[in-house]
């Protein structure tokens, strides 16, 4: 039995000799000898130290136990054991400490048969509270005070209380580092046993985003943070300015705010077209400024109307198809809508010109049919006295398939279609041109291009 026990130690001793404890501070390793001081803590404050158990030998080593013994000391984030550590690898863990009474504290940290002596000195210190939710929360080192969500341009504050619950007078050392926070009043300079004093920290929300600072009270570091948000925008409303709710119009649209904006924001205005004709769209329904059906909008402080870039209003086109234009604004969490209804209308002729060209009459008519129901054209020429010129009504089957042609037009472009007209004797063409005083053009070949 004795021989077996000696054999175990003969085999095991070299293995534990290949491990070492290290303290990790700021990413750097510091090898620990037989003892290590974790530093000084205020009474009631916590301390934490990151440590490593590292295999410093050349062979694999096994770790089966990690423990600490000592009042106020605890192990945190302990890795699962047993483990075999290859050469150069380590286990990382944390030693925590907290004690309410002043004095010197020590503990023994062990990894199997390797051990190190840890020490902490607890000094008299102030007790710190912050007023929250109608009560007082005690703050220890490393605590965080969250100012919550603060609107840009406004302020939020938290009141801190320093209480001397020790038997000796203390000199509070209070400092604040970081932007976006400031001490509202000077911190107290001396606190007798049993006394307390308050001071206020103000968060100044000047830019949207996250604010963070460190409040140092004696050796304690307390993190302050706040989330700065934009003030909500006032409710926006779409304002349409369109003299004639009909096809072929350019109107303007603007966005009014119910009150001056306290913050800034952005969104978009879109126009959707709901055609009265099944399956038809109209690409001319758009905002010319963007050449599309959406346009970005923005608001800055003081605005009473949203901006479209540098403009306070932008044009929109009603297209040439009966239907409904639905404007939708999304801005600052609000959605507003407005509509323009374009009613079906008779064929609109924008321009008509006529000329005699050799033995033919050339008519050029520009316009639109917002119902896409045109089927045929009939032309009657009148002289200046209003008398119909022979042969009277000339029926032209030019528009067979008009709806299909228009559908093609709506797909973006231009389309050619050819129609065979009624044939007129050359003398009739000349007669119409003469009686209607139509200009004469040089004969030209039929146009065959569409743009």
């Amino acid at each position: 039995m004795i021989a077996r026990w000696l054999a175990f130690w003969w085999l095991a001793a070299p293995l534990f000799g290949q491990f070492g404890f290290y303290a990790v501070n700021g990413g750097a390793e510091q090898p620990l000898d037989t003892s290590y001081s974790l530093g000084t803590a205020g009474a009631g404050d916590g301390l934490a130290q990151c440590l490593r158990l590292k295999n410093i030998g050349t062979a694999d080593g096994s770790v089966s136990l990690l423990s600490i013994s000592g009042a106020g000391f605890v192990l945190k984030e302990v890795p699962r054991l047993p483990q075999t550590l290859p050469s150069g690898q380590y286990l990382e863990f944390t030693v925590g400490f907290q004690a309410n009474d002043t004095g010197s504290y020590s503990a023994s940290l062990k990894a199997d048969r390797l051990s190190v002596f840890l020490e902490v000195t607890v000094t008299p210190s102030l007790t710190v509270f912050v007023a929250e939710s109608g009560g007082q929360r005690r703050l220890s080192a490393g605590a965080t005070v969250d100012f919550g969500s603060v609107e840009r341009g406004s302020q939020a504050s938290r009141r801190f209380t320093l209480s001397n619950q020790t038997r000796q007078g203390l000199l509070p050392a209070v400092a604040l580092s970081g932007s976006g926070f400031r001490l509202d009043s000077a911190a107290p300079t001396q606190l007798a046993p049993g006394d307390s004093a308050t001071f206020t920290v103000i968060c100044m929300a000047e830019q949207a985003g996250t604010l963070s600072a460190v409040l140092q009270i004696e050796q304690r570091q307390i993190t302050l943070k706040a989330s700065v948000t934009e003030p909500p925008l006032p409710r926006p409303a779409i304002v349409l300015d369109l003299l004639n709710a009909a096809s072929g119009q350019q109107g303007t649209v603007s966005v009014r705010l119910v009150s001056a904006a306290r913050g800034r924001g952005s969104g978009k205005l879109s126009v959707d077209f709901r055609s009265s004709i099944a399956g038809a769209d109209d690409p001319a329904v758009l905002f010319p400024l963007t050449g599309s059906r959406t346009i970005p909008v923005s608001v800055v402080e003081g605005d009473t109307a949203a901006r479209f870039g540098a403009l306070s209003a932008v044009e929109f086109q009603t297209g040439t198809t009966a239907g409904m234009l639905l404007f939708t604004l999304q801005l600052g969490g609000f959605t507003d809508q407005a509509t323009v209804t374009v009613a079906p209308a008779p064929v609109h002729l924008e321009a008509v010109s006529a000329a005699r060209s050799g033995n033919s009459l050339e008519l050029r008519i520009s316009g639109f049919d917002n119902t896409r129901t045109t089927g045929g054209l009939a032309f009657t020429f009148y002289d200046r006295s209003g008398v119909a010129v022979a042969p009277g009504k000339i029926q032209v089957e030019c528009c067979r398939g008009f709806p299909e042609i228009l559908h093609q037009c709506q797909r973006g472009g231009h389309v050619c279609a050819y129609a065979r007209s009624s044939r007129l004797p050359g003398r009739q063409a000349r007669s119409i041109a003469r009686r209607c005083r139509l200009p004469t053009r040089r004969p030209r070949s039929p146009a065959s291009r569409c743009g």
Partner: protein, 252 residues
């Protein structure tokens, strides 16, 4: 929207239906057609790049590239081309809408587009030429001299035939002359329109005019600052209207 062109007669039995052409314009250095009717526009695709200057009468057009002046038909197809110096140019059309004059701004040269004459050197002409018009075989130059705008009539060989002060018209901005003699002159974010035998008309713009170019019969392209799409000034017997032309995909 659709354009109906019909031929009633014995000579031609077929004619197209097509989107109505408002005109052709320069947009970010590209030439493209603009279709539609007043207040309802759709841009066509770019058909030519690197265009320094462009003007269209509704009958013909002229574009200036880095090395050529190209006359185009109504459909934008080239009719003829002339070698030209680099830089922008001004153009003028006769009353029938045919391209007639070209003025090379950098060299201060005037060229008759139909004739074979050498360009006339106008470097001795005082003032800055803002626009070009046609006057029965002669060229009408709108010239900025200090705070005044002048109309200077020049023959094909560069002889100054007449000069006239155009009182009341701004001289500090771009200008244009249509084939019917209408003058459009920019004054910041406003345009003054002067038609023969009519009172001047003042037209407000959303922003200052940056360049005026004829883009079709009765249509003037009004450039806008900060990359905004251009405006279109429509001159009709009934009055003057301004529209915003749709932006194109190439716009930054």
């Amino acid at each position: 929207m659709i354009l109906v062109s019909l031929c009633l007669g014995t000579g031609s039995a077929q004619e197209p239906l097509a989107a109505p052409l408002v005109g052709w314009l320069r947009d970010g250095g590209q030439l493209r057609a603009m279709y539609g009717i007043p207040g309802n526009f759709l841009p066509g695709p770019a058909v030519r790049d690197a265009v320094w200057s462009a003007a269209f009468s509704g009958t013909e057009g002229v574009v200036k590239t880095d090395s050529e002046v190209i006359t185009l038909d109504r459909a934008g197809q080239p009719l003829r081309a002339l070698a030209a110096p680099s830089g922008p140019a001004l153009f003028a059309f006769d009353r029938a809408g045919h391209a007639e004059w070209c003025y090379f701004r950098h060299l201060r040269q005037l060229r008759h587009l139909a004739g074979g004459e050498d360009p006339a050197n106008l470097s001795e002409l005082s003032g800055s030429v803002l626009a070009l018009g046609s006057d029965g075989g002669n060229a009408n130059l709108l010239v900025s001299r200090g705070a005044e705008l002048w109309r200077v009539t020049v023959s094909v060989d560069g002889q100054v035939l007449a000069e006239e002060s155009l009182r009341g018209l701004p001289a500090g901005g771009p200008a244009a002359v249509s084939q019917d003699g209408t003058i459009v002159a920019a004054d910041g974010a406003a345009l003054v329109v002067r038609r023969p035998l009519a009172e001047d008309c003042l037209v407000a713009l959303p922003a200052r005019a940056e360049g005026l170019e004829l883009m079709g019969e009765g249509w003037v392209r009004v450039g806008q600052p900060d990359g905004a799409p251009p405006l279109a000034l429509h001159l009709t017997k009934a009055g003057v209207s301004v529209y915003r032309l749709p932006a194109t995909g190439e716009r930054p």
